[in-house]
């Protein structure tokens, strides 16, 4: 009882230290502000958007910014401001669910196989390598074309494929810890595998997994918006930045505002997540500089 309450206090103390450390850095402050702003916007945008996002008005087609429509209208005469404000909702919803799920399943498998080791581990890593050697877009498109688009397909697809690289990271982090004395001690005390994973490995791998999760979030968002851009993501008339950019691209020469507004929305969110992830990594003392793209 006392042990658990002190450890909880320590946990809270650590959380506060880490948060302070993130907020001291300019990248952390800017990043977290951007992310919070986008989350709030996603929650509130249906009530603050000035017009209905799917209302078409042919007299306004491709009209430039005006006092009624601050950012003009798109090729179907829909208000760009309203669509831009709401354009991140789907993306945040899908990636917000898929990222934690991906980190959980990838992290669990990675820790488990890192602990078990041996031949099983070797075989699993070959399969992971094989998956990683296929371009992400190919893997996803095959599934999406088969099962159709929509949230019901996108979330499991993203969860599955973005969990695979997490396996690698979790396994490597486990290997670093597994040789330490306290793991040996736990083994010698006769603890079960689950208990070793839960009490010895997980607390030590958690930092790495959190940073990895933050990075995966930004990559997942990139993948999601790219899929939307290619026409395999959300279906119209749902407002989505990727889709909006793809739609407005053809009219770019005389209606550039249709491209610029969603570009700013998407870029600010992704940059916000990246800056936060960077600050988190530094606050937790994890060097991410050597991470390569995936």
């Amino acid at each position: 009882m006392t042990v658990s309450s002190t450890s909880r206090q320590q946990e809270q103390g650590r959380f506060i230290t880490v948060m302070k450390d993130i907020l001291v850095r300019p990248s952390g402050r800017i990043g977290l502000t951007l992310v919070l702003f986008h989350i709030l916007l996603a929650l509130l945008s249906p009530s603050i958007a000035p017009y209905d996002f799917k209302m078409q008005n042919s007299s306004l087609m491709l009209s430039p910014p005006s006092s009624e429509h601050w950012l003009g209208a798109d090729h179907l005469g829909r208000d760009i401001l309203s669509r831009t404000l709401m354009g991140g909702r789907e993306a945040l919803l899908v990636t917000g669910i898929a990222t934690p799920l991906a980190v959980i399943w990838g992290g669990f498998i990675g820790i488990l196989f890192g602990l078990v080791g041996g031949r099983v581990d070797e075989v699993l890593m070959r399969i992971v390598d094989a998956f990683l050697s296929l371009p992400w877009i190919l893997k996803m498109l095959v599934l999406i074309v088969t099962f159709g688009t929509g949230i019901g397909v996108l979330i499991p697809t993203l969860t599955f494929f973005y969990g695979i690289p997490v396996i690698r990271v979790a396994r490597a982090a486990t290997h670093d810890i597994i040789a330490r004395d306290f793991v040996w001690a736990a083994k010698a005390r006769g603890h079960s595998r689950i208990s070793i994973i839960w009490r010895e490995l997980l607390p030590n791998v958690l930092d790495t997994l959190m940073v990895e999760g933050a990075m995966r979030w930004s990559w997942m968002l990139l993948a999601f918006s790219s899929l939307s851009f290619l026409g395999f993501g959300v279906s119209p008339p749902t407002p989505d930045w990727g889709l909006m950019i793809s739609d407005a691209r053809g009219f770019m020469s005389f209606a550039p505002w249709g491209v610029i507004a969603p570009v700013i929305g998407l870029s600010s969110l992704i940059i916000g997540i990246n800056l936060s992830a960077d600050a988190l990594a530094k606050a937790l003392g994890i060097d991410r500089a050597q991470k390569a793209p995936m």
Binding site: S133, L138, V142, S225, F229, I245, V263, I271, A289, Q290
Partner: protein, 319 residues
């Protein structure tokens, strides 16, 4: 050393085998087959369907067909596309050549630039050149390729009119005809590539410059530039090999979106088109090619690192 080398090559081979198995199994599991696709609306006719399956040899067990497909793939014969008449190797050949051209140009621009910028910003850490280069790199790495590509088209081709914004050359045209249309895609690709490599080189230059032997050399009175070129850079650039390899591998996938944006007739666009048309044999072949290239590039990087790093080399020799 030799043992290590053989092991690496074998592991690469195993990975390609697993990939081909995944691809084949994945395509097998998809609902429908080449015949339901090929016959389209006529597929309700059971007799036609059966006849077609017989013609295309689809009634044999999957294992047999997998063996045949792999055999063909090894000898360069990728079989026929879903329409049953065109050879995949001819469709894919031109596209592969175009994608390689694009990748090669991007590497030729991106890698030297990245090394230069990385060294400069590593040596002048936290000063103006570093701040500018690092900020640009963060933008390049985070903003999706289709966004930066669209913005570049908007600025360089729509507003300024300097470069053509879209590729209109046909797939079979010789490489020389892609200029100057290829320039914008090359700029976008090398921009992103450059950012990843630059960040890596920068951090490794910083690490090496803070190391004991550089300090030792400074204390001995070795001139600064001699330290940089003789002592620091050879060690700092070594880890870059692996990042370059990973970036090239990324290029194979990331290039897809860029090819679509610029309407470039490469392997990536062929892939998207084939997936949309459900031309599965072509998808299979592209996946196999891309995965093999990925494995080869990584293998080459590992070997290069081993050859270039005496520490690793002797470690394996002693073993």
């Amino acid at each position: 050393m030799l043992f290590m080398l053989i092991r690496r090559v074998l592991l690469g081979g195993v990975t390609v085998c697993i990939v081909s198995l995944i691809i084949f199994a994945g395509v097998e599991m998809l609902p429908g087959d080449a015949c339901t696709q090929f016959l389209g609306e006529y597929q309700a006719d059971e007799e036609l369907l059966a006849q077609c399956r017989k013609d295309l040899d689809l009634n044999r067990p999957p294992i047999d067909r997998f063996a045949e497909w792999t055999q063909g793939a090894i000898t360069g014969d990728l079989g026929l596309a879903a329409d049953g008449t065109t050879k995949i190797s001819t469709i894919v050949g031109d596209r592969l050549k175009n994608s390689l051209l694009l990748a090669f140009c991007a590497m030729a621009v991106g890698i030297p630039l990245a090394l230069l910028l990385g060294v400069v910003s590593g040596l002048w850490r936290d000063r103006l050149p570093d701040i500018i280069a690092s900020t640009l790199a963060i933008f390049a790495m985070t903003i999706p390729e289709f966004v930066s590509a669209t913005l570049l088209i908007l600025v360089l081709s729509v507003w300024l009119g300097w470069l053509p914004g879209i590729v209109l050359t046909s797939a079979a045209a010789p490489a020389s005809e892609f200029f100057p249309e290829i320039l914008l895609p090359v700029i976008v690709l090398s921009f992103v590539m450059c950012a990843h490599i630059m960040r890596m080189v920068r951090s490794s230059v910083i690490d090496v410059m803070a190391s004991d032997y550089v300090q030792m050399a400074t204390l001995k009175g070795v001139p600064y530039w001699q330290i940089v070129f003789r002592h620091a850079l050879p060690n700092a650039l070594l880890p870059a090999i692996n990042v370059v390899a990973l970036t090239i591998a990324w290029l194979l996938g990331g290039v897809v979106v860029i090819e679509v944006v610029f309407n470039y007739p490469g392997l990536g666009r062929l892939m998207i088109d084939s997936i949309s048309d459900r031309n599965l044999p072509v998808v299979q072949s592209i996946a196999l090619i891309v995965a093999s290239v990925y494995v080869c590039v990584n293998l080459a990087a590992d070997l290069l690192t081993m050859i270039a790093n005496p520490k690793l080399r002797t470690m394996y020799m002693r073993k």
